[in-house]
Symmetry: none
Subunit: 155 residues, 2 copies
DNA sequence: ATAATAATAGTCAATATTAGTCAAAGATAA
DNA sequence: TTATCTTTGACTAATATTGACTATTATTAT
């Protein structure tokens, strides 16, 4: 489990802060300097690792005193967040994003490890075994949304 | 003495590492260089010799800092039962029959109630939302088989 | 007040860095 | 001989990194 690339390292750094506090607020250029990358790489890290699918809300402001603020949210407890998530998924979701959703359900203790892994198997590219990528992504969306709704009624 | 083709040698090399540690993480091109083969041969070795039937899980990532990771897992005792079920399911299964399969897994304590329900959601006709019944049945078969294969080992 | 300037963050596309797929060719075993 | 297994490489896909350009907000000068 070595994080070879710098994006993974930045991700871990931010998550280590989030482990202790509700949110983290950064100045983009400072983090970029800290890890010796261009500022836009911070956007890349956020866009790929701190999405709503991952269970994070991000807000920011430009100009003097600007910042980027990342907050961890709970996907199923808050009906609004769940609705937002379902809307973001829409009728198509990649394996990567779906993986992120299941991962955050696990982190929120909505699913235990075994349940999460069963779901991951069900939505896996190899499992579905389709050549049509659009079809694969739309099926995956239906399965994930079906499960999210099931979890909603259950709770 | 058996003919030691290069795939066998690579297999032994990887397994010798796995003898000492739980997993091995490689950079595909490095191993290819080490044994003077094209990178895709590493995929061939993995696909033919590190299958789940043999107790290996494989995951990988592309791009900068990419890797291939092979993990040895413990296979459960009653893998034969799973094999039999997989055989019976074949490449297509109706919702009715699939329900029966999941039900029997529940009755045999392979799955608990919640796990069974999650799986039923995933393979439900409504969830999959397909008009092509053959496609639906074959997808359902793949999902169930994927899950049965997952149940082969303990993580 | 308003305009100019500074200080932030965002977007996007080009490039780099990996791994995956597939089918043809070659080698080996039955 | 024939079927299966191995080897190869061209093409594809996914992910990461970079930087030029844009957008937004705050501060300063007029």
């Amino acid at each position: 489990m070595q994080s070879q690339n710098i994006s993974d390292i930045i991700e871990k750094y931010l998550k280590s802060i989030l482990a202790d506090s509700e949110h983290v607020e950064i100045r983009r250029s400072e983090i970029a300097d800290l890890f010796n990358v261009v500022p836009s790489q911070i956007n890349y890290v956020i866009k790929t690792r701190f999405t709503i699918q991952n269970g994070y809300l991000v807000e920011s402001k430009r100009g003097g005193g600007g910042y980027i603020r990342i907050e961890k949210v709970n996907l199923v407890d808050d009906a609004d967040v769940l609705d937002a998530l379902i809307q973001v998924i829409g009728d198509s979701i990649t394996q990567r994003d779906a993986y992120a959703v299941v991962q955050s359900l696990y982190e929120d203790d909505v699913l235990n490890r075994r349940e999460a892994q069963l779901i991951l198997v069900a939505i896996d590219h190899e499992t579905l075994g389709l050549t049509d990528r659009d079809l694969e992504n739309s099926l995956r969306a239906r399965i994930i949304i079906g499960i999210l709704n099931h979890l909603r009624y259950e709770s």
